[in-house]
């Protein structure tokens, strides 16, 4: 039976129409971004920048306003990193830069000349999943999946932070840092999952942490 919405419109059609409505205002925004820049450092509209993305040097000429997230998604077509809030509140854009997780939406691409960037595409592939990707599948650590690339990049770098002895708000002795589910919940608070798959996300991360410790 086809899912039928108000007035006989199917859910799929509704979603299609919704997407078109959402896409429309994006067009003038992109046009402004392409034509409005006064000048880059040398007086042109763009600046050259070289990013090392997932092991490969990528040269780009960018409007200095381009965030690292937009450089990855719109210019390098690495659409695994997601744009959720675009204000650093949701964590969907989390990537790993020089070994550290950051919000790609709150940094300019031109501030990352020569930096080593790892996105979800660089962690694993469909044929060869990263252990964290496999654990998310095993534990059903998502529902819609939109926050998942950010959750996984964040979780991988977060376990490295525990390994490095970096304390958190819930660490009782600042000089004795170790894994616990409580620590994971605090440390992953920058990644929102509106489907609320949190308990399964914690289970997935716990599996990887245990395997790392073994």
């Amino acid at each position: 039976m086809a899912a039928t919405g108000i007035g006989g419109v199917t859910r799929r059609r509704m979603l299609g129409a919704g997407a078109a409505v959402l896409a429309a205002p994006a067009v003038p925004t992109l046009a402004q971004a392409g034509s409005g820049a006064q000048s880059g450092a040398a007086g042109g509209t763009t600046m050259p920048v070289t990013l090392k993305v997932n092991g490969k040097a990528r040269q780009l000429n960018l409007d200095p306003r381009t965030t690292l997230l937009d450089a990855l998604r719109e210019h390098l077509h690495l659409t695994g990193s997601k744009k959720g809030c675009d204000h650093g509140q949701c964590g969907a854009c989390t990537i790993i830069v020089d070994g550290r997780r950051i919000n790609a939406c709150l940094t300019l691409a031109v501030m990352h000349e020569g930096d080593e960037i790892v996105t979800i595409e660089g962690l694993g592939t469909a044929d060869k999943l990263h252990p964290m990707q496999r654990a998310f599948v095993t534990h059903d650590g998502y529902q819609c999946g939109y926050c998942t690339p950010g959750q996984i990049c964040s979780a991988v770098a977060m376990l490295d932070e525990i390994e490095a002895g970096i304390p958190s708000y819930v660490t009782s002795d600042l000089n004795d840092v170790s894994y616990s589910d409580h620590e994971v919940r605090e440390r992953m608070s920058g990644n929102i999952c509106r489907c609320a798959a949190y308990s399964n996300i914690v289970a997935a991360i716990r599996d990887v942490a245990k395997a790392d410790a073994a």
Partner: protein, 318 residues
């Protein structure tokens, strides 16, 4: 975002000179607050000076027995530094109570001091705000003021300074070291760094045009028991409704600073004097002269209760 030109700084003096010579120029370090505000066109710089190439990212001991923290030391690295964990635990705790793991990896020591208020009317460009548009009026005073300031406010502005780190820095009597456009240096006590709003709430710090923070210096450790307690609307990743930083000495003396209640990290000498009389006396001294709205008057009681919990935490650690 409005268009801007972009340059990478080559030295602190060059950066300060460049910032002073071009109206509309701003420094960018971590960028987590500035870019957020640029996307909303609340900040509209015409030129950005990226100070990250200056490598001001070291934490070094001083002759006086303190620590000099480079302006670009990330919040994560400052909180995790072994000397900070051992000698300035209240600073580690304050840093770790702020933002998210991702943001702490990017946010810098100097940028944290310079972050703008999270007053909802400062963020809402359809409402008047004296901080955003001097002279426009303040929608907050008669508006949704639950999270706003009760100390040091004026008729023009009741915004809070949102930082946790700055509250600990204020408690520890840090000083802020800056380079001027002519290349000379000066240092100012953190007590004098943030300004109260008065009738010019858009002027938030004592920095002159072009002045660049290069480090923040902590005096020698106070010793004692360090506590940072933050009350917020969710368990993690939220700004303080109120916060209390405290250092207790062995003989019962105490030092206190407060977040979430004022346009700057709040510290009152009389509050320290009342330490031996307990939480209520400290709260009364700290909140003398409070000006509240019907929505944020509860912060007075909340400071008292948070102080009581801070005293309990001290007992637990003895």
């Amino acid at each position: 975002m409005r268009p801007f030109t972009f340059e990478r700084a080559t030295s602190p003096a060059q950066a300060a000179q460049a910032a002073a010579s071009l109206q509309g120029a701003r420094f960018i370090a971590g960028g987590t607050n500035l870019l957020d505000l640029m996307k909303l066109q609340i900040e509209t710089p015409t030129h950005l000076i990226d100070v990250n190439p200056l490598k001001l990212d070291r934490i070094e001991p001083t002759k006086e027995g303190g620590l000099r923290i480079g302006a670009l030391v990330r919040n994560t690295d400052l909180a995790a530094d072994k000397r900070v964990r051992r000698d300035y635990a209240v600073l580690s705790r304050a840093l770790l109570s702020g933002a998210s793991g991702q943001l702490r990896n990017k946010a810098t020591t100097a940028g944290n001091l310079l972050q703008r208020t999270r007053c909802p009317y400062f963020y809402d460009t359809t409402k008047p705000c004296n901080k955003r548009s001097p002279g426009a009026g303040c929608a907050a005073i008669k508006g949704f003021s639950r999270n706003l300031a009760i100390m040091g406010v004026s008729d023009a502005c009741i915004a809070t300074h949102p930082s946790d780190m700055a509250v600990a820095m204020r408690l520890l009597d840090a000083s802020v070291d800056v380079v001027r456009p002519d290349g000379s240096e000066r240092s100012l006590p953190i007590a004098d760094f943030h300004r109260l709003p008065g009738d010019t709430p858009h002027v938030e710090t004592a920095l002159a045009p072009g002045e660049l923070i290069v480090s923040v210096t902590l005096p020698k450790p106070l010793g004692g028991t360090h506590v940072y307690r933050k009350v917020r609307d969710r368990a993690s990743y939220a700004f303080a409704v109120v916060s209390v930083a405290a250092v207790f000495g062995k003989d019962g003396d105490g030092h206190f600073a407060f977040g979430g209640i004022a346009p700057k990290p709040w510290r009152v000498a009389f509050a320290d004097d009342a330490a031996k009389q307990g939480a209520k006396a400290v709260a009364d001294a700290a909140l003398a002269g409070a000006i509240t709205t019907h929505e944020n008057a509860f912060k007075q009681d909340l400071i008292g209760r948070t102080l009581a919990a801070v005293y309990d935490q001290r007992e637990a650690r003895r």
